[in-house]
């Protein structure tokens, strides 16, 4: 049996046991509490998982039972996740930003027996719907603040369950190990509910084998080491964050850090200065526009230096990407620029030590990518689906080609279907949708996973994703258009937060644009344009002119057929609560086209 084969036989709890044995008192997690970073060693991590696992068991958790976890990222989230898996259960992550209706759907559909909630906010959601959840037996609360007066029999504290588990462990010390040993690689480990730009979320079941096999192939492309540290920022219920914050440390032993709160994230990031960063385009866009706007208020010298050096940084980055020799002179200038501009900038952003930056979940605009490469941060775009356990393709080393997502990682068999759809096959293809045979059959045919994405391989074998198959527009003249690329070009403007391209069966393309409130408000103040709300700002003719200029700039870079002829500014920010965005902040095109139908019609009159 080869070593690789052996890895596939492993389960996540077994990997965890191995890391604990190997690393013992080394730091596994850090959490900022009371203004200080508190270290949690692998041994402590193990104790928490063990106690909570045994506690769950004593409450009646059986193999195959579902347990949901609802709350912001924290060490307890990971303890609970691993504990459930150690007990042979299946853990289900729920977005903490979900409304109670969305929470009810997932708890009900997954038939969760237990739910672990972070705090009062989340507990209140569950208490509101508990009567509609006949399967629900117990809710464990991590942070009891504001809940001490609640006397609902459903409620237990996280600590209490751990206490029970501790007593059980003292009685039968071998029990936990036996439980871990009875986990099997083809057992389902977690269910990840996809955010679903269309229809209700679907629960993708991922087995231990899916997870361990994707880990093996991932490490061949991006080797994460024990010395690496990551800050857990994105929601843990998303497969990519779970991969980085839970799965990867189980193999590499790297350290995961938890920020104190969302408000302190920027400062905490700067303190930790992580070496690996998993991010999404939205965050990178936000950083870029924050830097652009802040530079306007910067000291004239700083401002001058920034505007002089940024193009040089980008030129060097571009030459490096094209594998050209960078001239000695340029290299010297870049070194100066790095020393005086890029380094302090990256330090301020908390990105100084980042050696690998992976962006996923949505396509990243080329201009944003160039900006970060310019300041020396080699952002890589990865591509994957929940259904393929997170990663399908990712650039290897510094072989980054802007606009592509690199080559498929080892372990995947793949082909492009006749209609351009990417198909994949391999041990990391998910087990199926939970309680939805029909949907499973639609995406899994003869062992192939139908990704639903259109893409192509270039001459060097790099994969270029065109768009979601469902979102390709066909204009009245029969031209196929991938809207996301144009949308990303528009979103590069610091004044445009969201753009939705319209044009299916229409003579030309138009766009619904949502302005970036902070940046446009800032601009309006400089121009002394009075406004009161988002609405009044969107209605202002000067603002319209500003956006027109931005659209014109984008049009220059687009082919004539892709140009945007008309646009309209949305008078309200797109919101998750209005079903306009998914939990991962992706636009729900269908919903928006329906909702703003009148507005769209006006664009074609």
């Amino acid at each position: 049996m080869t070593l690789e084969k052996k890895m596939i036989e492993l389960t996540l709890p077994r990997l965890f046991e191995n890391r604990v044995k190997e690393l013992g008192d080394a730091v596994a997690l850090r959490e900022k509490k009371k203004g200080l970073w508190r270290r949690i060693s692998w041994n402590e991590y193990h104790t928490h998982v063990r106690d909570f696992c045994l506690g769950l068991r004593s409450l009646g958790l059986q193999k195959g039972d579902r347990v949901s976890i609802l709350g912001d990222n924290c060490p307890e989230w990971l303890y609970a996740d691993l504990a459930v898996q150690c007990a042979g259960g299946i853990s289900v992550g729920v977005y903490p930003t979900n409304s109670y209706i969305q929470v009810r759907y997932i708890l009900d559909h997954s038939q969760s027996k237990f739910v672990i909630v972070k705090d009062q906010e989340q507990a209140d959601k569950v208490l509101l719907i508990k009567d509609q959840l006949p399967q629900m037996e117990r809710m464990m609360v991590i942070d009891l603040k504001g809940l001490r007066k609640y006397d609902d029999p459903l409620l237990t504290s996280f600590c209490e369950v751990e206490e029970t588990g501790k007593r059980i462990h003292e009685g039968t010390p071998s029990l936990f190990r036996e439980m871990i040993e009875s986990t099997k690689s083809d057992d389902v480990a977690i269910i990840v509910y996809t955010s679903g730009t269309t229809g209700p979320p679907k629960g993708a079941m991922l087995s231990h084998q899916n997870i361990t096999s994707v880990l093996d192939s991932f490490f061949e492309v991006l080797r994460i080491q024990r010395e690496d540290s990551l800050v857990s920022v994105l929601p843990l219920c998303h497969v990519a964050e779970r991969l980085f914050s839970l799965f990867i440390p189980m193999k590499s032993g790297c350290t995961i850090n938890f920020a104190e709160s969302i408000d302190t994230l920027q400062a905490d990031l700067a303190e930790i200065s992580p070496t690996i960063l998993l991010t999404v385009p939205r965050i990178l866009e936000k950083i870029h526009s924050a830097v652009t706007i802040k530079m306007q208020d910067a000291h004239p010298v700083k401002k001058w230096a920034y505007h002089q050096f940024l193009p040089i940084g980008q030129e060097v980055a571009e030459q490096r990407l094209f594998k050209q020799e960078v001239s000695l002179f340029l290299r010297f200038v870049y070194w100066v620029a790095y020393l005086f501009v890029f380094r302090p900038l990256r330090n301020r952003l908390g990105l100084l030590q980042v050696r690998e930056c992976v962006s996923g979940a949505a396509p990243l605009s080329k201009d944003i990518m160039k900006f970060f490469h310019g300041i020396g941060l080699m952002v890589k775009e990865a591509y994957g689906l929940t259904e393929c356990t997170g990663v399908f393709s990712m650039p290897l080393g510094d072989d980054i080609e802007i606009g592509t997502v690199g080559k498929p990682i080892p372990g995947w068999e793949y082909k492009i279907a006749d209609d351009g759809e990417i198909l994949m096959k391999g041990p990391a293809v998910f087990a199926g949708y939970f309680r939805d045979e029909e949907a499973t059959k639609q995406v899994k045919k003869e062992g192939w996973l139908f990704s639903g994405d259109i893409g192509e391989f270039d001459a060097r074998g790099h994969l270029k994703i065109t768009d979601r198959k469902k979102e390709i527009l066909i204009t009245a003249s029969g031209k196929n258009i991938a809207p996301s690329e144009i949308e990303n070009r528009l979103k590069f403007s610091p004044f445009i937060k969201e753009a939705i391209i319209i044009g299916d069966k229409r003579p030309y393309l138009s766009a619904l644009i949502q302005i970036d409130l902070d940046n446009v408000a800032d601009w309006a103040q400089r121009k002394e344009i009075p406004f009161t709300t988002f609405k009044s700002l969107s209605r202002d003719p000067e603002v319209y002119k500003l956006i027109q200029e931005e659209v014109d700039k984008a049009n220059k870079e687009l082919s004539r057929i892709e140009g945007i002829k008309k646009f309209v500014l949305l008078e309200k920010e797109l919101d998750r609560d209005d079903d306009e965005l998914t939990a991962t902040m992706k636009v729900r095109r269908e919903m928006i086209e329906k909702k703003y139908g009148d507005l769209i019609e006006k664009l074609y009159q």
Partner: protein
């Protein structure tokens, strides 16, 4: 025994009778609302409890212990903390420093030990800082910890002031218009914090507030005063339907 007992309190400034025989008592774990039109004498009551003004006559007891004649710092030491109508913080100091000042009464070591910052003094600082950090977490002001108070938004300054009062580990907390000047969201946050303080920390709270929605929503018991005279006392429901209260607030048809 009630936590705070006020019996027949009178005060006059020259010829003006600011308070005329006001009596009420606040129980343990109670959120007591004090309302009344402008100039009714609400803040004067707080100032008397604090020891800023000596009353002309009347009795004032905290846990049965007489408070009349004590100095403000002695009263603070007994466990009475307060926030003010207009924020009273050290504006050029950080949030942490302001909150640590609230712990002043718990710090034993003197100026000499403090300047060397050794042994017992360091230990004391750590214990007190720990409590301050708990309060910071409780009030969710982690992001402002090291910021200078002057630079903070008004709503956050109000929260810091509440934190400064809480860091005294009070038995009773006097809040003078905690929600004034706040927008709806800030008001809601503040109301939630006040409720949490009552429930989590077991502190009795006396609150003056003009935002009737907030008072009626969160107070356990309300006392209404007008022109220095108590005109009604009861739970929010009773107060809302009390004709004297309606008269005091809306005036009377001639």
């Amino acid at each position: 025994m009630p936590r705070l007992e006020i019996i027949d309190l009178n005060i006059h400034f020259g010829g003006i009778r600011a308070l005329n025989g006001v009596s009420f008592s606040i129980e343990d774990h109670q959120l007591f609302g004090l309302i009344g039109p402008n100039g009714a004498g609400k803040t004067t009551i707080l100032n008397i409890i604090n020891g800023v003004y000596p009353p002309s006559s009347g009795r004032l007891c905290l846990d049965g212990q007489d408070m009349i004649g004590l100095k403000p710092h002695q009263i603070a030491k007994m466990g009475v903390a307060r926030t003010f109508q207009n924020i009273e913080l050290f504006k050029n100091m950080t949030v942490i420093d302001n909150l640590m000042l609230g712990r002043h009464q718990f710090i034993q070591s003197g100026i000499l030990a403090g300047s060397f910052y050794l042994g017992k003094c360091l230990n004391e600082e750590m214990i007190n800082r720990d409590r301050v950090e708990e309060i910071i977490e409780f009030l969710e002001i982690e992001a402002y910890r090291k910021k200078v108070v002057r630079m903070l938004p008004f709503g956050i300054q109000k929260r810091v002031e509440l934190g400064r009062a809480l860091s005294m580990d009070p038995k009773i907390l006097l809040l003078d218009e905690p929600c004034s000047g706040m927008n709806t969201e800030e008001t809601e946050d503040m109301a939630r914090f006040i409720l949490d303080i009552k429930e989590e920390m077991g502190v009795s709270i006396m609150m003056i507030e003009h935002n009737m929605e907030v008072v009626m929503d969160i107070a356990d018991r309300i006392c209404v005063i007008n022109f220095g005279i108590k005109i009604a006392e009861g739970n929010p429901k009773q107060i809302q339907s009390d004709p004297r209260v309606i008269k005091a607030y809306l005036g009377e048809d001639e």
